[in-house]
Symmetry: C2
DNA sequence: ATTAAAATGATTGACGTCAATCATTTCTGT
DNA sequence: ACAGAAATGATTGACGTCAATCATTTTAAT
């Protein structure tokens, strides 16, 4: 017995000194320790080590400590491949996206489709489920229709309503993890929010419009889809905050509500572009919501004032073209691809009850005509 | 025999119709098919199916076809967890980063350290190796010092020199995959480049500086680290292109070379900020390279002209603070975190000889004071 | 000292794939 | 028809973990 303990100590000293400089100058050809190694190093049986790491109980305090110590010393990390294989873990995920022809969500759907087959190799299945757009009742119905126990994780384009709490709690109790996507749910309903900070997006729009006037006075028109929508009102809030604080020489007109409708956006733009007797000339427009095709339509038909600056949201084919045509100057995007990837990573981590790899906030991305990604996707050259 | 074939056909019809709508309305609770299922469906033995998918040869054309057909029909995807477990695959990676106190690479190193332990669970080990900065001889020496066969994949901050071709070819022949990071290698030396388009970055800087003048005339000073560096000269090229084409009312001064040295940058900035008799007042500065702390130092000491716009590169603590202080107006960043993740994903895919999940180009990111990520990292609220 | 409870050890069969061996069958060409 | 080559089948032991069973030892309570 004594000799075994001695070996354990020697091993642990050896191992801990090896671990000292993990990322520099030490070649990475060390054998990765297994749970058997840990057990041996801790001086306990495999069964006990297993009881410890899987928290099966019925193990003495000092054994727990010995095993934990051994794990530290050896730098043991559970082999997730083996673990998932053994417990036949599959990740059954669902994305609940608003239905309809919305270009942004179309793009998102497309990206999900693109990654589905690659995820299959990691035992991840993804269903994309269409939900009535921006409709609390529809969302609740959909949540209820998801039979309990069918999904391990769900990403939902959220709505701010207390009514969704009950069905979501039910899902959660049935073992599903929930993250909100693009638009947040009530905080207690989800484990994480994957989306941009929309107040920051609005502030950014204001900053760029402010800067674009080069200190000269101007008149700014904002178009919003709906002030009921959390993201829209957040953006407006951030926008107003920065514009009034930092650019007092700019006049902010009352926002026009468009219900994200192309024609309404077009009409509003026409009004803004048409010089009227008693109305000042608009020098900048910020379209908070969707309906960019109407916006572009109006910009194509009517002549812009000499100095005119236009900011819109979401990089989609329409807005992309408008950037290149100089009809729109800036597009603020939330990078749906990255959001989808984040949601997937998060859900997997939640399901495994693992802790997360470090990752930064998703930031509202500023596109001008000059830093557009090529529309083609990456491929390997070799 | 006939009956077996019949069953195969029936199965395949059933399966292919199930596959028709992969992402809508079909619950994801299907059992994932294994290679045994494929073999059964193809009417061959497991051994033959194995010979096919692992290309071991000695298998008849028609068996190959049957197996492929069965794979299609069942939607078979190799279980990478099981495969990697079985073949004891480990990914031994190395990142070759320039040594020194550079804030950008410090950040990158930090991020790598952060993900290392999470990668360990997937049998990925990463060594960070320091290389003499921007020194072809040093890089070559380092490449040679990496003993053959030690690494499966390498990410290198590249240099444009034909001299690196030989050691890299040697590494490649020894079985290592190579990607270039941040700065490209000669194309034939690497399988992919992970970094931003620096011409686009320069164009973006020009666009924002152009916009910031609101149509008014101005004088623009560019600071470059070294025109030898590919990224710097690319940025300058893009900058000049857009500024001269789209903003003819702006005067572009001769670029000042700073060797990325803080003091040199500071001196150049002082010159720019000091109003001289026969020199025009500078209205905008674009710092193409590093040395932002010198830039900020000068901006703190000297009074800026009323209308002054400053664009710099890389979001690091210094530049972040300067954004918030309004000393710098825009920071163009290459998102080192994302670059690292991409490099890791790419290397793993290359090593597995898998095809890539779809991913978009990495785009030069525009930061203003309003869309900065919180410096803290994401955590789960759950 | 006895007994029950708690802790530990030892072992086993999955999980899906890989990589190998060996026996058997089916094709070639003559 | 026959030898030799080519193709196929059948089987096996890893890989590291999980989840279980059963036997044995140690500990605590009386």
């Amino acid at each position: 017995m004594t000799s075994i303990i001695l070996i354990g100590i020697l091993l642990s000293m050896n191992e801990s000194s090896r671990k000292a400089a993990p990322s520099v100058s030490m070649p990475a050809n060390q054998k990765v320790p297994t749970l058997s190694d840990v057990a041996r190093c801790a001086g306990v049986s495999y069964a006990t080590a297993d009881r410890v790491i899987n928290e099966r109980g019925n193990v003495a305090e000092k054994s727990v400590r010995k095993v934990h110590q051994a794990m530290m010393n050896l730098g043991y990390v559970r082999n997730v491949a083996a673990a998932n294989l053994s417990r036949q873990r599959t990740y059954r995920l669902a994305f609940l996206l608003p239905q309809g022809q919305n270009a942004f969500f179309n793009h998102m759907r497309q990206h999900i489709d693109g990654v589905i087959e690659h995820l299959l190799a990691e035992q991840v299945t993804v269903d994309v489920i269409e939900v009535a757009a921006f409709d609390v009742a529809g969302l609740i119905q959909c949540l209820n229709s998801i039979a309990e126990k069918t999904y391990d994780g769900i990403a939902v384009v959220g709505l701010q309503s207390d009514l969704v709490e009950e069905p979501l709690t039910r899902l959660k109790n049935s073992g599903a993890s929930v993250v909100s996507l693009v638009s947040d749910l009530p905080k207690q309903c989800r484990s994480a929010y994957v989306g941009i900070n929309n107040v920051a997006a609005g502030r950014t729009a204001a900053r760029l419009i402010g800067v674009s006037h080069g200190g000269l006075p101007g008149v700014v028109q904002v178009l919003v889809g709906s002030l009921q929508a959390q993201d829209h009102s957040d953006r407006l809030k951030g926008f107003q905050e920065v514009l009034t604080r930092d650019y007092p020489q700019l006049t902010l007109l009352e926002p026009v509500t468009t219900r994200d409708d192309d024609e309404a956006v077009q009409a509003a733009m026409q009004r803004a572009l048409t010089e009227l007797q008693d109305e000042p000339e608009v020098s900048a427009v910020y379209n908070v919501g969707a309906g960019n095709s109407g916006l572009v339509e109006a910009l194509t038909q009517y002549e812009k004032p000499q100095r005119f600056f236009c900011v819109a949201h979401e990089l989609v084919p329409h807005s992309r073209e408008a950037l290149l045509n100089q009809h729109i100057d800036v597009v603020i995007d939330q990078c749906p691809d990255i959001e989808v990837n984040r949601a997937l990573t998060l859900l997997k981590a939640l399901i495994d009850a693992r802790d997360l790899p470090p990752m930064l906030e998703i930031v509202p991305t500023v596109y001008v005509q000059d830093n557009l990604p090529s529309s083609a996707q990456l491929t390997l050259s070799n």
